[in-house]
């Protein structure tokens, strides 16, 4: 059995709930069957913001082990989203005693930091820097999924991880289509912590045109506000 922390990370919808019915469905597009249970959400622990507050809502669960759940039972469910629309249906990865809710809640709050740590570990260079200039995006690529990379020149105030240097060039996608829409977009005079990663290999034609020794920033976590400097410094110390 996976650990609770692993289950928390792998699940998209985590909640404690009380089983209301077995073999039924609360979602019109999901026909009732023996593998389903309907539960009331008692305490949402990890929920996509698009779904809002689910407290008190009925959720249909495609149970991993239906016979292990009885009506009236309270449990902590680790699930994946399945159907959203006129009700919510989820696929269960596992469930544990509801008493572990506080621990899981803590694990959920830790998820963004876990992700930040992963980005810090994979970064070649982490710097406290200011954008001095943003170059025009390269739109020469005829590939429809092109990132339309733009270069940002960084005036480095402090190197937090990696080889010491005074400046760097970071390329970021400016295209507003997937998969680039969540990447950070930099502007001149922007100041903060930059988690700089090496360009991917093999490089696309556009990436091959990057200035030598330049970096890329793709993940929303690859830029952190200046206020996070001490926190990131501590995290970097922890992962050294």
């Amino acid at each position: 059995m996976a650990s609770v922390s692993d289950l928390t990370r792998e699940s998209s919808l985590v909640f404690t709930g009380t089983v209301l019915e077995r073999g039924t469905s609360s979602v019109p597009s999901v026909p009732a069957n023996d593998n389903l249970v309907v539960a009331r959400v008692d305490r949402p622990l990890r929920v996509d913001p698009a779904l809002g507050d689910l407290t008190g809502q009925r959720i249909t669960i495609l149970a991993a082990a239906p016979h292990s759940l009885r009506v009236g039972q309270q449990a902590l469910f680790f699930t994946h989203s399945w159907i959203h629309g006129r009700g919510i249906a989820v696929r269960e990865l596992d469930h544990v005693e509801a008493t572990q809710a506080d621990a899981v809640a803590q694990a959920v709050t830790q998820l963004p930091q876990d992700h930040l740590v992963e980005r810090l570990r994979s970064a070649v260079l982490v710097v406290d820097a200011q954008v001095t200039n943003v170059g025009p995006p390269d739109r020469s690529s005829r590939i429809r999924k092109a990132a339309w990379w733009a270069p940002a020149d960084l005036d480095i105030k402090q190197v937090l991880r990696g080889r010491q240097r005074k400046s760097a060039v970071v390329y970021f996608p400016t295209a507003d289509w997937p998969p680039w829409t969540r990447a950070p977009h930099f502007k001149a005079h922007q100041r903060g912590i930059f988690l700089l990663h090496a360009p991917r290999e093999p490089a696309s034609p556009a990436e091959a045109a990057f200035k030598s020794g330049s970096f890329v920033a793709l993940d929303p976590a690859d830029f952190q506000p200046e206020s996070q400097l001490s926190h990131i410094t501590k995290l970097l110390a922890d992962i050294q």
Partner: protein
């Protein structure tokens, strides 16, 4: 009726989302159009590894997200259902590794993720189409075609072809489309489009050169005629003979932006589902000053292309679809005054486009590289991206449709899942559908007379002729699935409310027939049947005028339609409608042999006695109040509608050689206090069964009459249409000799009667005629001469103007329609009324065709749709009820004056599915099951002659009888009656009651109808009759001019009758034309024995006889007593006669004494020379 609907597809559970859900795509399951899927740039929920699709299982009214697409979300994604397998296929670029996956899913609501069928790397802009093979050895297999740019090669336009996508491990074969050099790569969009016949088109953009941001490119269409197995090499460009026809060369500036969306996003290719020759191509270029959308068309499989059929400036994301009617829809965004306008335009001819504005919304940067619209049956379904401000003014700004948001809204704001937090606007996918749904009310019985209701009330309920009135009207609903109408079986109903309160008029739906014969998920056409019942107080007839219209309104889904049903009272002499209407209960026919006694009258020995006989029968029945000599007119055992007892003879003698005479009787009812004087009855025979018997006097075409005969009375004349006689009057008096006297000199005194009232109760009078169609006298030409009513010259230089026996002049079927008309001056028959809807007309419009293992046949006549019918009106249709015809029966309809392609083109446009298929240029086929609808093309005022034939399955049980009813439907119009009065009981509107301008109603009415009855009998019973029929019909055929409309019909009719003779065990080649029907062989073929009545002639063949078509007909034999003429159509006789003629052989010909022209035996007297073989 076209119904527009928009639904914001983001479910309410995601009301808090603010994603840019752009670049939408859609798929609709053809096998269940209520099931559909949308994709967009909607990301997976945080923590979810599978990307979402939107899906609906209720026709797009409600949408949910399903997280089942591997890849942590998708970059590009397109989807498509196969035609019949219920399988959804998807081509998606994964977000996690950018690889192309081809996925498959059995059903959107299954609990399993999509399975990955194929993976490709370094591709861009995949576009998928799937189709199920409908016939042939691969029937049931799914084909999948994925067009994309393969970035690993420069000539990058590629289609992945999978010929069995249902296989557990399907094989995908990459086909490179581009044979020409390119500027770096091909364009972004590759659009494969398969057709059910195995044709697969693929459109792509061949990049030829670049200059700065400008790319010059060819719009290319490639074609493969074998499901993609021919490497798309079946369409060459005439310029360089390479694969792929270059439709146009254009320039696109990649640096331009329209409302934040990049250019080159309107490339699409569609093929007409009814005709793979017809293909449309669209694209957007800036060869001019603007980004311009263009649509072009090829009508010859991509070989030649039109100029721009339509252009739209500042357009983006164009998509096309062609529905089952052949209607082309074009949807696109257009930037107008800084806002996106979403348009949906359609055309039926490619040149005239309508335009519906679906939405007008704000711009919001990138909207994607495509959107999509698809067609299933008659409907269009699409999805477009738009800012989601829930302002009603944004949707259908010009009206014409309805819209719905799933996500939470408050006024013109979005609110989140908590119902209060205002959510920022963003781009959502908006589902739209354009449904073609129709509801037609067909009045089968109109008007309804109080007399009929009262008469029916005297009969047992639910019996033929009793109440309720069965099949009084029908409702035809098209464009729906069974589920949408709540139907699951033929017993399922669609309620039509009564316009009356209480029980005055009770309307009962008695069931339905589905076009496909089942109640699955397909869009189709349903026909509902309704009976009418009345309360005993006749409340429905409680009005003071002679007639009153009531409004029937039927509703299915969002579609409704109405018709006016007329109720009439009955102060005048009248005939009762039949039940069914083409078999009037007051018009009967019967046959009489010499010296037989009927209704206390005795037939004389020969034809001269016929007038006196029928006149005596009429008098006896009238004086006996319907009964005479112990026989009742109403007794079906006396005057039966059954064939064996009521069959009319075209031959003068029956099968036993006994003379036979045909008669008709009509019973006229009168209810009143005054009485009716000079009630006249006109009887008319038609050429065959007809669906058009509308009253047309004055001036009279079918119902011609002379205004004054020697008695000073009007008299019926032969009807004339298109230079031929189409109706023949029959009389109780003897027919005048039209070779010496004009037909307007005919008198018929006993068919003019005074009906005296008896204080109110019903009085019945009987009228009648001798149907002398089987008599031998020359009375009427086959073609109308200048003296159209005679007298006719038997020596007229034009042989077609010479009088011939009546059956040669008129009969074009074994069974002829008979119409009786009450000509009562105070109550003239309105123009356009017909025997089914007017009580002074009655008809007997029924044919029989016995079967065993042969085809059932009847000729018929239908009226063309009126020329110049407005585009928005439905043409006339044949509505054929196949009744209980056994499963497996197929029908053919031969209409030599009509192009079958015209009919099919109209059927494709009118009906969701239909089962009509082409046999040849003028012959249609369809399964004989349920109800078939056949649109009738427009034509002149000459009716179409046709032949209906049925191939029934073998081994039918003897004694079974099948009936087929053929109705012609036409448009009817009326003005909507005002709302019902508020008075208490009867909520019936009176049309004249209020001065309000009424709305025009349109419905369908039955113009006319006939029935084909098919009894199953044994071969032995059928053979002799069939041989006699073939003999007399062949004789009739000899008189039909080659140019006459009946000639091709009759020719095929005779071929089929000959086939029946063969099927019954006879030899049709031995049957000679004969006016008596006796041109049939007399076995055994042997020399006459002493004492037999045979004669012989010996001589030499002096000439060979051929008919006007060059067919051998006989020969002249030069004997000692002179030249004799001998007839035979046998090929062997022809060979022998020719040889004897050529070699001067002496022969002896034996004949029956009573048929001295028909050889029974031929003996060659000279030593034979070896015959050639």
């Amino acid at each position: 009726m076209r119904i527009f609907r928009i639904v914001n597809a983001v479910p309410s559970d995601h009301s808090s989302e603010t994603n840019a859900d752009t670049e939408p795509n859609i798929a609709v399951n053809p096998a269940n159009p209520r099931e559909m899927v949308i994709t967009a740039f909607t990301p997976p929920d945080s923590g979810v590894t599978n990307g979402p699709v939107y899906f609906s299982s209720d026709g797009g009214e409600n949408w949910a997200l399903r997280f089942d697409v591997p890849g942590n979300g998708s970059v590009d994604q397109t989807i498509g259902f196969a035609s019949s397998s219920n399988e959804l296929y998807m081509a998606t670029l994964r977000s996690d590794n950018s690889n192309l996956n081809v996925d498959r899913s059995a059903h959107p609501s299954t609990g399993t993720a999509f399975s990955i069928l194929e993976t490709r790397s370094s591709v861009d802009q995949p576009w998928i189409h799937a189709i199920s093979v409908a016939s042939g050895p691969d029937m049931g297999k799914d084909r999948a075609y994925i067009g994309y740019n393969d970035n690993t090669v420069s000539q990058s336009a590629t289609v992945d072809v999978c010929l069995d996508a249902l296989a557990s491990s399907p094989t995908f074969t990459q086909v490179r489309l581009e044979p020409r050099s390119v500027a770096g790569q091909d364009g972004f969009h590759i659009r494969p489009k398969p057709h059910a016949d195995g044709t697969v088109y693929a459109g792509y953009q061949g990049w030829r050169s670049t200059s700065g941001n400008n790319t010059t490119m060819d719009m290319v269409v490639a074609r493969d005629d074998n499901w993609g197995s021919n490497s798309f090499g079946d369409l060459k460009d005439p310029g360089d003979s390479k694969n792929g026809r270059i439709v146009a060369s254009v320039v696109i500036d990649e640096a331009t932006s329209l409302g934040g969306t990049r250019p080159d996003n309107g490339f699409d290719l569609q093929v007409d589902p009814n005709d793979s020759d017809i293909v449309y191509l669209s694209w957007i270029d800036n060869s001019g000053p603007n980004l311009t959308l263009r649509v072009r068309r090829s009508l010859n499989r991509g070989a030649d292309w039109s100029a721009d059929l339509v252009t739209v400036d500042n357009a983006a994301l164009a998509t096309m679809a062609i529905n089952g009617h052949g209607t082309v829809a074009l949807a696109y965004l257009q930037l107008v005054a800084g806002q996106w306008e979403m348009h949906c335009r359609t055309t039926e001819d490619g040149t005239t486009w309508d335009d519906t504005l679906l939405a007008r919304t704000a711009t919001s940067g990138f909207m994607g590289d495509y959107m999509r619209m698809v067609a299933v049956g008659p409907h269009f379904y699409g999805v477009f991206p738009a800012m989601n401000t829930p302002d009603p003014a944004n949707f259908f700004p010009n009206g014409g449709g309805t819209f719905r948001f799933q996500r939470n809204t408050s006024g013109t704001s979005l609110v989140g899942n908590d119902g209060t937090t205002v959510i920022a606007v963003s781009v959502d996918p908006f589902f739209f559908k354009v449904e073609e749904k129709d509801l037609t009310v067909v009045l089968n019985r109109n008007p309804i007379g109080q007399d009929e209701v009262d008469a029916r009330r005297t009969q047992p309920r639910n019996s033929p002729g009793g109440l309720p009135i069965p099949d009084a009207f029908r409702v035809i609903v098209d464009g729906f699935t069974a589920a949408e109408l709540g139907l699951s079986a033929p017993t399922s109903t669609l309620n039509v409310p009564s316009p009356f309160s209480g029980n005055a008029l009770q309307i009962t739906c008695t069931g339905n027939v589905s076009e496909t014969g089942n109640y699955g998920g397909e869009i189709q056409r349903f026909t509902f049947f309704y009976s009418l019942d009345f309360d005993t107080a006749d409340t429905a007839f409680n009005f003071s005028t002679d007639s009153q219209d009531v409004l029937l309104t039927a509703t299915a889904g969002a579609v409704s339609n109405s018709a006016l049903l007329t109720f009439i009272k009955q102060p005048d002499p009248f005939l009762l409608h039949g039940d069914p209407a083409w078999l009037s209960v007051d018009l009967r026919v019967f046959t009489v042999r010499p010296n037989e006694q009927w209704f206390n009258a005795t037939m004389g020995a020969d034809a001269s006695a016929a007038p006196a006989f029928i006149q005596q029968v009429m008098a006896n029945l009238t004086s006996g109040k319907g009964t005479a000599g112990g026989q009742s007119f109403d007794d079906p055992t006396v005057l039966s509608p059954d064939e064996d007892q009521s069959k009319l003879y075209l031959q003068p003698n029956d099968e036993n050689g006994t003379p036979v005479f045909n008669f008709a009787l009509a019973k006229v009812h009168y209810i009143g206090l005054i009485g009716a004087s000079k009630v006249r009855m006109f009887f008319r025979l038609r050429q065959t069964q007809v669906t058009y018997a509308s009253f047309d006097y004055p001036p009279g075409v079918q119902y011609r009459r002379a205004t004054s005969n020697p008695d000073g009375e009007p008299i019926a004349l032969a009807g004339i249409e298109g230079g031929e006689y189409v109706t023949l009057p029959c009389f109780a008096a003897g027919r005048i000799d039209s070779t010496s006297v004009a037909m307007d000199q005919q008198t018929d005194a006993t068919n003019i009667q005074d009906i005296a009232a008896i204080g109110g109760p019903e009085v019945d009078h009987f009228f009648g005629c001798w149907i002398d169609i089987n008599q031998p006298e020359n009375r009427l030409p086959v073609q109308v001469p200048p003296k159209q009513d005679g007298p006719f010259d038997i020596n007229d230089p034009n042989s077609n103007f010479r009088p011939v026996p009546l059956k040669q002049a008129l009969a074009r079927n074994l069974h002829l329609c008979l119409v009786a008309e009450i000509a009562f001056d105070p109550a003239p028959i309105p123009l356009g009324k017909d025997p089914s809807n007017w009580d002074k007309l009655a008809q007997r419009n029924i044919a029989w065709s016995d079967v065993n293992s042969a085809q059932a046949l009847t000729t018929f006549e239908i009226r063309p749709t009126a020329p110049g019918l407005p585009h928005d009106q439905t043409p006339d249709e044949l509505m054929i009820d196949w009744g209980s015809t056994p499963h497996g029966t197929s029908a053919q309809i031969y209409l030599p004056a009509i192009s079958v392609d015209d009919i099919l083109e109209k059927a494709n446009r009118l009906y969701s599915p239909h089962r009509l298929t082409r046999v040849d240029d003028h012959t249609l086929a369809c399964p004989a099951a349920g109800v078939s609808y056949i649109p009738i093309p427009p034509g002149s005022n000459i009716n179409y002659a046709g032949l209906l034939s049925l191939d029934l399955p073998p081994s039918l049980p003897k004694g079974h009888v099948y009936t087929i009813a053929v109705r012609q439907l036409t448009n009817a119009f009326g003005k909507q009656p005002p709302p019902p009065p508020k008075s208490p009981q009867i909520q019936v509107a009176s049309r004249a009651a209020q001065g309000r301008v009424p709305a025009v109603l349109e419905w369908r009415r039955v113009l006319g109808a006939f029935q084909l009855t098919v009894p199953v009998k044994t071969k032995e019973v059928l053979l002799l009759k069939e041989e006699r029929d073939l003999s007399v019909l062949r004789w009739i055929f000899k008189a039909i001019p080659h140019h006459n409309r009946w000639h091709p019909v009759f020719e095929r009719y005779l071929q089929r009758i000959a086939g029946r003779v063969r099927a019954f065990g006879g030899n049709p080649t031995q049957i000679l034309p004969s006016p008596t029907g006796d041109g049939i062989p007399r076995p055994p073929h042997r020399p006459p024995e002493p004492g037999e009545e045979r004669r012989s002639f010996t001589g030499k063949v002096s000439g060979l006889i051929f008919d006007r078509f060059g067919d051998f007909e006989g020969f002249f034999l030069d004997t000692e007593d002179g030249e004799r003429r001998l007839f035979s159509r046998e090929r062997e006789v022809a060979q022998l006669a020719e040889r004897a003629w050529r070699e001067r052989l002496r022969i002896t010909v034996w004949t029956e004494r009573d048929e001295p022209s028909r050889p029974e035996l031929i003996v060659v007297r000279e030593p034979p020379v070896p015959f050639e073989h």
